[in-house]
């Protein structure tokens, strides 16, 4: 395993350098440059433009710039953004990262959980109404034009029903007089979610040692409910619960929209794998033993069908870092996806390369994690 891991890490590093090189030269191949916007201002003479060129490093040959970039890249310096000059690319990424991670990880989790549940149920009742309705609905939402779905949801829930905020990630009227920033709160919410995950994993490990199902259940529910109550209490006592709630309230509509849009992917993967699994002999045996349908479906079939879905999920988590241009734009949730769009439209090469590299690193890591997870989930797999 260790040998496999070290081999994969070396592969990832090589791949990353190839990837950065391709991205750099692709950006160079685009017509025009960031400085072209100054061509629209007749007050900026060619001499001043030359000065600006020097400031942004455009006076050097492209090969020199490439080598300079790679040298900085080796020490994890992604350079200075042009459009946010002279802000560092890393500071822009880390400013937007919490917003993106919080929204997209939540929606990925919800979407996969929803897809997993519906997928296993529709496969179990193949050809029945529930199977036809979920498959049809999933496909409809999967093929819908996302901006249209977003506008429709905003209109329905924000304007007509008035039960959810229309846009943005906070309500300015609520946040006007607070001393902390939304960024602080996003980081704390992420920390809270991380603690929750650790608690959940710890309980799962401990519960394996318990002998009865009831004991396992009690430990699981009590611990999770306890963690939730403690978290909420801390938020209330800190006086920031209302602000955290405001962010969560603003997140409902984008998460709902993204879930509607993407749950079909995970649902169909789960359904197809389940359909294969339920034809296996051990499922027939389990049924023949007189086990309840629910137990056969959830414990015997669904667990074995989980592997491809899990791989998809882990790789999707890697991609959540890149955010979503459409979702972030439609819901005025400025994250990394929006930063991509801005960098591309302004030809802000350092920012765009920085974003692509950052996403690339996470996707490559996600692939590695998926490989490890395979071995963990399926004991038959050996590296």
């Amino acid at each position: 395993m260790l040998r496999f891991l070290s081999k994969r890490v070396v592969q990832i590093v090589i791949l990353l350098f190839i990837y950065v090189t391709i991205v750099f030269w692709l950006m160079e191949a685009l017509p025009g440059s960031f400085l072209d916007k100054y061509l629209m201002n007749p007050k900026i003479t060619p001499e001043i433009r030359e000065n600006l060129k020097r400031q942004f490093g455009f006076d050097k040959p492209v090969l020199t710039r490439y080598l300079y970039y790679m040298k900085n890249f080796l020490v994890l310096d992604l350079g200075v953004s042009f459009s946010y000059f002279p802000k560092k690319v890393t500071s822009i990424i880390f400013e937007r990262l919490p917003r993106t991670v919080f929204l997209f990880v939540t929606s990925t989790l919800v979407s996969y959980a929803f897809g997993y549940t519906l997928g296993k149920r529709s496969a179990w009742r193949r050809g029945k109404v529930i199977d036809q309705v979920t498959t049809f609905t999933g496909i409809v939402f999967w093929t819908i034009f996302l901006p249209l779905l977003a506008i429709f949801n905003i209109w329905l829930f924000g304007v007509i029903l008035g039960i959810l905020p229309l846009n943005q990630f906070i309500d300015p009227n609520l946040w006007r007089n607070v001393s902390f920033s939304a960024q602080d709160l996003f980081l704390k919410l992420l920390l809270n979610a991380f603690i929750f995950l650790i608690v959940f994993l710890t309980i799962m490990i401990i519960s394996r040692r318990l002998k009865t199902i009831n004991a396992k259940r009690i430990l699981l529910y009590v611990s999770l409910i306890g963690t939730i109550i403690i978290s909420i209490s801390i938020w209330i006592l800190s006086g920031r619960a209302i602000y955290a709630w405001d962010i969560i309230k603003h997140m409902v509509l984008p998460v709902f929209t993204l879930t509607l849009y993407s749950f079909a992917g995970s649902m169909l993967v789960m359904r197809d794998t389940m359909l294969d699994v339920i034809r296996e002999d051990y499922i027939t045996t389990a049924k023949a033993k007189g086990l309840p349908d629910k137990v056969v479906r959830d414990k015997h079939a669904a667990r074995n069908a989980l592997l491809p879905l899990m791989t998809n999920f882990v790789i999707s988590l890697g991609f959540t870092i890149s955010g979503g241009i459409i979702t972030e734009t439609m819901f005025s949730w400025p994250g990394l996806g929006r930063a991509y769009l801005e960098a591309l439209s302004q030809q802000d090469t350092p920012l765009l390369i920085g974003l692509l590299v950052f996403t690339g690193v996470f996707v490559l890591i996600a692939h590695l994690v998926a490989d490890i997870l395979y071995a963990f989930l399926d004991p038959r797999i050996r590296y």
């Binding site: 685009l30 017509p31 025009g32 072209d36 100054y38 061509l39 629209m40 201002n41 007749p42 007050k43 900026i44 003479t45 060619p46 001043i48 433009r49 000065n51 600006l52 020097r54 400031q55 942004f56 200075v80 042009f82 459009s83 946010y84 000059f85 002279p86 802000k87 400013e95 937007r96 917003r99 506008i151 905003i154 209109w155 924000g158 304007v159 229309l166 846009n167 943005q168 990630f169 906070i170 300015p172 009227n173 946040w175 006007r176 920033s181 939304a182 960024q183 972030e328 734009t329 439609m330 819901f331 005025s332 949730w333 400025p334 929006r338 030809q347």
Partner: protein, 610 residues
């Protein structure tokens, strides 16, 4: 106990009666550091927030855009001292910074001299260069606490009055130590751009309260704003007067302030705070306006037809439309044959029926433009250029006949000569032969594609069709905007004809920038390569003019020359349509060049609706 109660009541009153207006932005400003904003990061969105924070010695009046004193007490006195021209400016004595410091000549002198030093020694770029041109500006000098002398190599309305004298003034006490510290670093400009300016004292009416990145910016009105209560009166006879009963400041100019008034405005601010909310797409901002979350949408492109139609049906939402200070045009590469032949350019211009294009093809969503100074810039626009434009007021048949005659006049021939009867082309021209006997193969018209600007893309196709009908082999090539910019400005004039657009300032010195022969180098703004000694001479006189009436007269002549020589064929522009909630805010006026967002939403004049 009573005191506590009184304070409590005051706090409650502030919350209950505080008037806040919410405005929608479609993009977030980048930095409120003025060095950065006027340096490499000039965006219109930053400008909307910076506008109410800054002040210069002179400014424009509302609506009419008269050049009037702001921090200055009077118009400048100009005299020649040796080889230099000196503008003496008396400063107002009733102005204070937001930290309570008195505004003085030290601030003015430090700002002007420092900007020049940073431009010359460190390459400070961007829009600072619009204010301080080291080829003209020499230095600023303090005479006493409220008088400065500003030295120029030559007198120039463009470089002095509408340049340096309008630049934002920074507080010396705050900035001097910061700039000196920055100059000791390895990269002074980056250090200056990076300074956090949340505590910067300002002269403008609105102080930054909170910037929640990605969500909103809130600014609070200053209670000690120097101009509060000031009455600006524009008279129909052209005179302007400013009276501030609070401080006793009075000024009048441009004639006797008497007779009928065109406009009277009392400066506020009338609202306690403004919240600029960030919406990242137009649909979201429009929904927020409909929902009453915001009162006004900032959008330099204005509302599209569908959006305006949607908002027209909403109660308490009012739509306003204003002409813009810009134009979209076609430029000939006069270094190349046959674009260097005047009659050829005139023939193309004659074929372009602007009225037909704007009213019929573009469905009334655009208006025709004829000259290089937009018609909306009333003071500087020469109305005669319309009549000088070839084919003006003619039918389509007559336009074609005129174009054919012009080409024949210049010695062009055809293999198959076009024939026009009435408005119809009964025989399409083919094989255009130049006066030197050379066959003209193909002329490329570069224009932005439909994704970038469907209007220009459509018009380019019409120009191609009309030109081909009389045998001019124009081929419209709809390409990416960046590619046009690259071929026109980066490569050595690698184009025949291109189509782009300009947004302009009030003072029309762009006429000299775009067409003076000394600006015809690679990457400079005379992309046409226009070279007319008579024009150059007049343009030099225009740039050196220190009298506004003389400058206007020269500007009119320049426009007339260009309307006949046609290095550019100016075609059209679109009005800017804006929307606001009448149940939430009241603007003091609605008709203004380029719309209310061009004056940053008139923040010191807007009132909350009762």
């Amino acid at each position: 106990m009573k005191k506590v109660f009184a304070v409590l009541m005051l706090v409650v009153a502030v919350f209950v009666f505080a008037q806040t207006v919410n405005w929608a932005f479609l993009q977030e400003p980048i930095s409120l550091n003025i060095w950065d904003y006027l340096g490499p990061n000039a965006t219109v969105w930053t400008g909307y927030v910076m506008g109410p924070r800054i002040a210069g010695l002179y400014s424009y009046s509302d609506v009419r855009f008269d050049w009037i004193p702001a921090l200055a007490a009077d118009l400048p006195d100009l005299e020649q001292v040796g080889n230099e021209w000196v503008y003496t400016v008396k400063l107002r004595t009733d102005v204070t910074w937001s930290d309570g410091t008195k505004f003085s000549a030290d601030d003015v002198v430090w700002t002007m001299n420092t900007v020049r030093k940073l431009i010359v020694d460190y390459g400070l770029g961007g829009n600072w260069a619009s204010y301080v041109d080291p080829d003209y500006f020499v230095k600023a000098e303090k005479i006493d606490d409220f008088t400065v002398k500003i030295y120029f190599k030559e007198p120039s309305l463009a470089k002095a009055n509408f340049g340096t004298l309008m630049m934002p003034i920074l507080q010396k006490k705050y900035w001097e130590p910061k700039v000196e510290a920055a100059l000791k670093t390895g990269n002074p400009l980056q250090t200056i751009y990076n300074y956090d300016v949340s505590d910067e004292p300002i002269l403008g009416a609105f102080l930054l309260k909170k910037w929640e990145k990605g969500a909103f910016i809130e600014v609070n009105a200053r209670k000690d704003y120097f101009d509060t209560g000031s009455v600006l009166t524009l008279y129909k006879n052209g005179a302007v007067s400013i009276k501030n009963p609070n401080t006793g400041f009075e000024w009048s100019g441009y004639g006797e302030p008497k007779g009928e008034k065109q406009l009277e405005l009392v400066t506020g601010p009338y609202v306690d705070s403004i919240i600029y909310r960030m919406y990242l797409n137009r649909a979201a901002a429009i929904t927020a306006l409909i929902n009453g979350d915001v009162s006004f949408i900032f959008n330099p492109l204005g509302l599209q037809k569908g959006e305006a139609d949607q908002l027209a049906k909403v109660a308490n939402v009012k739509l306003i439309s204003n002409s813009v200070n810009g134009f979209r045009y076609m430029c000939f590469n006069m270094r190349r044959f046959p674009m260097n032949i005047k009659e050829f350019r005139q023939a193309i211009a004659a074929l372009i029926d602007r009225e037909f294009l704007t009213s019929r093809v573009l469905g009334g969503q655009a208006f025709p433009q004829y000259g290089v100074v937009p018609s909306g810039n009333v003071f500087w626009y020469n109305p005669n250029v319309e009549k000088l434009s070839p084919g003006y007021g003619m039918s389509s048949g007559d336009r074609r006949k005129l174009a054919i005659d012009l080409l024949k006049q210049a010695g062009f021939k055809w293999v198959v000569e076009p024939k026009i009867e009435g408005n119809n082309v009964v025989r399409q021209g083919r094989g255009l032969i130049a006066p030197n006997g050379q066959r003209i193969d193909q002329i490329e018209l570069l224009a932005p594609g439909a994704g970038y600007d469907p209007m220009r893309a459509t018009i380019a196709l019409y120009v191609e069709r009309w030109a081909n009908e009389i045998g001019i082999p124009i081929k419209a090539n709809l390409v990416d905007f960046n590619l046009i910019v690259q071929r026109v400005f980066d490569e050595p004039f690698n184009f025949d004809i291109y189509m782009l657009g300009w947004s302009l300032g009030y003072y029309p010195d762009h006429v000299a920038d775009f067409f003076h022969s000394k600006r015809a180098g690679v990457g400079d703004f005379n992309a046409a390569g226009y070279n007319n000694p008579e024009f150059d001479k007049l343009a030099d006189q225009f740039l050196a003019a220190s009298d506004i009436d003389k400058a206007r007269e020269l500007s009119f002549k320049l426009q007339e020359i260009l309307a006949q020589d046609l290095p550019y064929v100016v075609i059209f522009d679109t009005p800017v349509t804006e929307a606001f909630r009448t149940d939430q805010i009241i603007f003091p006026y609605e008709k203004t060049l380029s719309g209310l967002q061009y004056v940053n939403g008139a923040p010191t004049l807007v009132k909350a609706a009762k």
